[in-house]
């Protein structure tokens, strides 16, 4: 039962990956215009015909479309994302350089926004119908209505430009040669504003789900029973209600990774934070098409992997699903 469920999910994600790979393969070849521009960037105009021929040959553009597709898939799965003709570097190298920063930002952002969302969601549900509940709901609704990049810009304006408390952009100070603890502090200072922005824009979904799930749990018989037995409010709140309400949050935690990574694309752009998202923006600005595609693929891969992990972990968390397996 469980094995079949996981195999089905695996197949589904495999299809997503292949669809996205195929889309990536077809885009430069089907769009009107010179496919060379899409494969090598707009510098193509300055290339000699020998260079062009070399690129045509590298991408096998003279071969049949099926052969091209086979070669493309093989390249991706061997970690060869192609070459950025504008940055004059292999794309996989660029990605590896940027990936750790994005993981730092989104990883911390996801954990912190989940903790904050869970806390406020629980408070809101516990005080359902009171002023606190209404106020919290309003605040979180407003947060989710704000454009992420704008939140970032405002934070930079206030805390960096006006007050001068925090650095304006980047992940660490350039040419500072900090090492050890100083470097960590420097990185931390650079991280505060992008992280705050990411938390502010992604916290609402956790809040809403926690509130909803907690409301459901609070309506259950065993809570009434505990109350009737005279169990202390704190114990009911933390031991009985919150624990059980956390389950749906756990799934959303993984699933919101896609949203968080997408949000990070825009936020990294505002703060010139050297992650994959910023790389995507830079490649859009310079119309470096192979790089746009590679950044998109790497983000898609991460999201798909996270989704699959969530599916694997879920049965461990939910006793109902787990017991079905025996």
């Amino acid at each position: 039962m469980l094995g079949k469920f996981i195999a089905g999910k695996f197949l589904q994600y495999l299809i997503v990956i292949f669809l996205m790979l195929t889309l990536n393969f077809l885009l430069p070849r089907l769009m009107p215009g010179n496919p060379l521009v899409f494969l090598a960037g707009e510098d193509v105009g300055f290339m000699s015909s020998a260079e062009k021929e070399a690129i045509l040959d590298k991408y096998g553009l003279n071969d049949s479309i099926i052969e091209q597709y086979g070669a493309y898939i093989k390249d991706i799965f061997t970690g060869d994302f192609g070459y950025s003709y504008q940055q004059k570097r292999p794309i996989s190298e660029l990605l590896m350089e940027r990936l750790p920063w994005t993981m730092l930002l989104t990883g911390l952002g996801l954990v912190l926004s989940t903790i904050i969302g869970v806390m406020f969601g629980a408070i809101s549900a516990w005080r359902r119908g009171t002023k606190t509940d209404a106020n919290l709901l309003t605040v979180f609704m407003f947060l989710s209505a704000m454009p992420s990049f704008w939140v970032g810009m405002i934070l930079v304006s206030i805390f960096s430009a006006q007050l001068g408390w925090l650095p304006v952009f980047g992940a660490e100070s350039a040419w500072s040669n900090y090492s050890g603890i100083d470097r960590i502090i420097d990185i931390g200072k650079h991280l505060i504003l992008p992280l705050a922005t990411l938390i502010l824009i992604s916290v609402t979904s956790t809040f809403m789900i926690m509130r909803y799930s907690m409301l459901n749990v609070l309506g259950e018989d065993y809570i009434m029973m505990a109350k009737a037995k005279g169990v202390k409010e704190k114990v009911i709140k933390y031991k009985h209600a919150m624990r059980n309400a956390l389950l749906p949050v756990a799934t959303v935690f993984m699933l919101s990774l896609g949203f968080t990574l997408g949000g990070a694309t825009v936020i990294e752009t505002v703060f010139a934070y050297p992650g994959v998202g910023r790389l995507m923006f830079e490649s859009v600005l310079s119309r470096d098409y192979p790089l746009i595609q590679a950044t998109f693929l790497i983000i898609t891969f991460s999201v798909v992997i996270a989704n699959f992990l969530a599916d694997l972990i879920y049965p461990l968390l939910d006793p109902k699903v787990g017991s079905r397996n025996g």
């Binding site: 589904q12 994600y13 299809i15 997503v16 669809l19 996205m20 990536n24 885009l27 430069p28 769009m31 899409f38 119908g129 609704m141 407003f142 989710s144 209505a145 704000m146 454009p147 992420s148 990049f149 704008w150 939140v151 810009m153 405002i154 930079v156 304006s157 960096s160 430009a161 304006v168 409301l215 896609g258 949203f259 990574l261 997408g262 949000g263 694309t265 825009v266 752009t269 505002v270 995507m280 923006f281 859009v284 600005l285 119309r287 098409y289 746009i292 595609q293 950044t295 998109f296 983000i299 898609t300 999201v303 798909v304 989704n307």
Partner: protein
């Protein structure tokens, strides 16, 4: 659905503070969009002052990097942001309705296939995909609309499908089917009227999402360069470093506040519509 029922919805909607607030906001923005030429002191594309002018009696919100009046840009920008949001939401709900109704009504293999497709689409990180598509097909008003609606139909499709599933088991639908009523009649007479209210609330929520997505795309420089939306204005403010100077108060703050307010307007209207249409939710609040 009779006139009576709509009247009742309207009454519940307007008696609900949140819904009323949302509706009023939407009306105000609609008025601004329509009356932009009369409200705006200048043509937003004209260079009417010195670049980077601070706010004064002539330019209430100053001028941008090429000397265009920011207030006029904002007023005209309402049209673009509102239009893209509404059109993209409309197309995605239309697609969602189509998929949802076909899936829910026919069931079986068609349903399984379509729902797998919905699952697939929901996994894809939508903003990066939109960036990819927008970069390839180029920035223009209709391309942005197309890109947003192509990605956002999936979750409304699911909601509408479950509504159709509920409707299908209703006595009058089964009765109609059993006496051999034509499918198109069953759909248009019995299914569609039950779907439209849900589709409406989904539409309003989709519009609020579309406006945010459009803003993000425009901010990344993928907006239509000839029609400036609020997101495009922020793109230029970012590119010219306005947020690092005092100009943030009149160049960065206002467009974002407008986006937030418009999204809130749609979201509040949408949530209270949902509350009206879903009695279960009404009890829980």
């Amino acid at each position: 659905m009779g006139n009576q029922k709509w009247k009742k919805y309207w009454q519940v909607l307007t008696s609900n503070n949140i819904g009323l607030f949302g509706l009023i906001l939407l009306m105000i923005f609609l008025l601004i969009a329509i009356l932009a030429p009369f409200l705006a002191p200048f043509d937003p594309t004209d260079r009417v002052g010195a670049p980077f002018t601070k706010p004064n009696s002539q330019f209430l919100l100053g001028t941008n990097d090429v000397g265009q009046d920011i207030l006029s840009e904002l007023l005209y920008g309402t049209r673009i942001s509102l239009l893209i949001g509404v059109i993209a939401a409309f197309i995605s709900i239309l697609l969602g309705c189509l998929v949802g109704i076909v899936s829910g009504y026919y069931g079986g293999k068609v349903d399984a296939l379509l729902m797998r497709l919905v699952d697939l689409v929901l996994v894809i990180p939508f903003l990066p995909l939109m960036i990819l598509l927008a970069a390839f097909i180029g920035p223009s008003f209709w391309n942005i609309v197309l890109v947003i609606s192509l990605i956002s139909w999936a979750s409304p499709a699911r909601v509408i499908r479950s509504q159709v599933l509920t409707l299908k088991t209703k006595g009058y639908v089964e009765a109609a089917k059993s006496i051999g009523t034509n499918i198109s009649v069953v759909l248009s007479r019995h299914i569609l009227p039950g779907v439209i209210p849900i589709a409406l609330s989904q539409f309003v929520l989709a519009a609020s999402h579309s406006i945010l997505i459009e803003a993000s795309l425009s901010f990344l420089g993928l907006g239509d360069p000839f029609t400036k939306s609020w997101g495009t204005i922020l793109y230029y403010a970012q590119a010219r470093g306005a947020f690092l100077t005092d100009a943030w108060i009149w160049w960065v703050l206002p467009p974002g506040l407008l986006i937030t307010t418009l999204v809130i307007g749609f979201a509040f209207t949408g949530y209270s519509l949902e509350e009206i249409l879903n009695p279960r939710l009404r009890k829980e609040r």
